[in-house]
Symmetry: C2
DNA sequence: ATCACACATGAACATATGCTCATGTCTAGT
DNA sequence: ACTAGACATGAGCATATGTTCATGTGTGAT
């Protein structure tokens, strides 16, 4: 009788309590899963992928980014807002222009890994 | 006059044509950005992050996964469907159970990088 | 001061997403 | 054959998301 359920620990919801208990013990916290998912979610839009990819090589201002990804200035500005919110990009103002760039190497690395994976189906 | 616009190449939509032309030349293709974004989008949900994290260490069946992430069987099954669609997990059937596991190391690496980044704000 | 430009932002809208509920399918045991 | 268990799937619904349109803000040139 090696696979008897243990309601006290696993709440009787599973077929393989040992596995479930182990997995539960190791499971990431809600907040951790939340923030990782939030990060990926921001990366999960083709427009933002293109924008970040363009920013990999150089600092760019909003209207140039708009021209590159072939979108309206407003759309690009909204996307930059969410990218800023997730701290994936930073910006500096210079006169009338706002120059955006990738925030850190970690972000660049993640993006490149995703792009690379996408090319090898 | 180093910054004259070149409508033939940049369509007159930008302030810094040289930069835009360079960025356009290097820009990832639509389909490439699409598939990278699709990959990230699938990773961009806390429930799926938890499920994948649990699968990092061990193969699991559906009802056990449901117990671990504290969700209904149907919800988990739907999520597994999208994970399968993105080829992030694979599964094998054994009698009445379906055993799921991470599809490849690349996926695991991406997930871990995301989780790690999320813990260093 | 006025104007044009670069950018940000709010509202509105269509679409996408994730969950629940109900039901279908397949397998194993009787 | 019949039933129960494990899983898959379709419909429905509430919420989230991305774009456009209109407008607001701040800067520099005239």
């Amino acid at each position: 009788m090696v696979k008897k359920k243990d309601p006290a620990v696993c709440e009787g919801l599973c077929r393989h309590p040992d596995t479930v208990c182990l997995a539960k013990a190791e499971l990431v916290s809600d907040s951790c899963a939340q923030s990782a998912a939030a990060l990926f979610k921001v990366l999960g839009d083709p427009t933002r992928v293109k924008m970040l990819h363009a920013l990999l090589k150089r600092e760019m201002c909003v209207c140039d980014l708009a021209a590159v990804v072939k979108m309206g200035q407003s759309a690009v500005s909204h996307q930059l807002r969410t990218l800023r919110g997730a701290r994936l990009v930073k910006y500096r103002r210079e006169g009338k222009n706002a120059w955006y760039s990738i925030n850190d190497e970690h972000v660049a690395s993640l993006l490149c890994q995703g792009l690379e994976h996408a090319q090898h189906p």
